[in-house]
Amino acid sequence: GAGVSQSPSNKVTEKGKDVELRCDPISGHTALYWYRQSLGQGLEFLIYFQGNSAPDKSGLPSDRFSAERTGGSVSTLTIQRTQQEDSAVYLCASSSDYLSTDTQYFGPGTRLTVL
């Protein structure tokens, strides 16, 4: 079946504007993850959704960041009042279950540039 998809592929915005990034996980995958990848860095965990459970938001860097997952499928990551340091690639991943043994499958990411 189709893999994880993300939109938009690239987003350029002005400082102070809000942005929404979308993730469509693999059909049937109950777990969904958001990561941030800054230039030259590894992946930084942001948030995790599993089924109908409360999400783990421990990785969100500030209260300007929020995410939701509707109907246990599509997820939206929202960044309010964007800052230049928010510029990064935002990656979404999904897995079939919540276990750490389950392989995470990644989308192609959204490259966010804040001017």
């Binding site: 777990a31 993850y33 030259g40 860095q41 590894g42 992946l43 965990f45 995790y48 599993q50 690639v89 990656l91 991943a93 897995s95 919540y98 276990l99 750490s100 043994t101 389950d102 392989t103 995470q104 499958y105 990644f106 989308g107 192609p108 990411g109 490259r111």
Partner: protein
């Protein structure tokens, strides 16, 4: 706390040669999993290989194999018969006890024609 360290920011290899990428990790868990992901310029992270810590046998996937040294907490990736399409960033990751993956900072591999 879990950590994953990749000490080689960049490497290069001639086409058809063999290259080894290093990764060390630290965890207090007994049961954990290790992964190598490849990220080509397209940005899509692709799973290359995974290793269950309780398995002594090193994982192999075609031209990719790992050297898993549990006592030394080392998990290196060997790429044999390197191809131009192997040019990418390679990330080592671990997961233990929770759903969170801990990633290293990556090694940029360039395969030279």
């Amino acid at each position: 706390a879990q950590t994953v360290t990749q000490s080689q920011p960049e490497m290069s290899v001639q086409e058809a040669e063999t290259v080894t990428l290093s990764c060390t990790y630290d965890t207090s868990e007994n049961n954990y999993y290790l992964f190598w992901y490849k990220q080509p310029p397209s940005r899509q992270m692709i799973l290359v290989i995974r290793q269950e810590a309780y398995k002594q046998q090193n994982a192999t996937e075609n031209r990719f194999s790992v050297n898993f040294q549990k006592a030394a907490k080392s998990f290196s990736l060997k790429i044999s018969d390197s191809q131009l399409g192997d040019t990418a960033m390679y990330f080592c990751a671990s997961s233990s006890g929770t759903y969170k993956y801990i990633f290293g900072t990556g090694t940029r591999l360039k395969v030279l024609a």
